[in-house]
Symmetry: C2
DNA sequence: ATGATATTTCGATATTTCCAAAATTATGGA
DNA sequence: TCCATAATTTTGGAAATATCGAAATATCAT
């Protein structure tokens, strides 16, 4: 993962409102939630939510799809996984096991068939 | 982990210079590096490094100790671990295995003797 | 088409963050 | 004590980010 992508992903989560939005979406599951429902749940004015969720989307942390008049947002788990792996790598690189994780060297290996 | 601590930790890493500093410190290992050495390595003016590394320290991501005239900074691995675990939890909560991690429910269990 | 609803974009302001030169503080050696 | 070195704090200005009302856009139902 590119250093700039890591920074972008971290930045997108490094804000109370956006972290709350992301958590709400994780809770909501793969189908996600409509923008309006998120705004209502978090008591956010629509433009404020829109501003923040756009950043999460730009960072690839959430995905959107239109459903009628609504726009459904959902957590994008692979991106989150990639971020966590990148952090783990950053953390452990050159210092294997310092982090206490099982496989510090390589990216998690695919399950052999 | 408190939501505000997560945001603080993420914010501290969500910046190119600070991420580079952190990585340098991970590479340096548990003994860490003197502020001046970090600044030289990353070609940063001393006040700029000081500004950024203070944020990493406030977030608990790095630790410092004085050694003579120098101040040694070192990555604080437990904090990084906690952050990664918090993210994993945020990511997986309510959606176990969506993230593809082995033990999605509880905090990593200690290695049985 | 017209109206109602859902959301985003625009615009203006307030706040925070970033940067680095200048000044300050802390430490150790002669 | 005086000097040199290592770092931080202060300072101030530029740039980026946050907030949210008003306006614009998109979609569906009639």
């Amino acid at each position: 993962m590119e250093s700039s992508s890591i920074v972008a992903a971290l930045s997108s989560l490094a804000q109370e409102t956006r972290l709350a939005v992301f958590r709400t979406l994780v809770e909501a599951g793969p189908d996600g939630m409509a923008a309006g429902a998120i705004a209502e749940r978090l008591k956010l004015p629509a433009p404020t939510l829109s501003f923040h969720i756009a950043q999460l989307e730009r960072a690839g942390i959430v995905a959107s799809r239109r459903a009628g008049r609504s726009i459904m947002y959902a957590a994008h788990f692979p991106a989150m996984q990639a971020l966590i792996e990148a952090l783990t790598e950053s953390c452990c690189a050159g210092n294997p096991e310092a982090c206490g994780f099982p496989k510090p060297k390589s990216k998690r290996r695919k399950v052999a068939a």
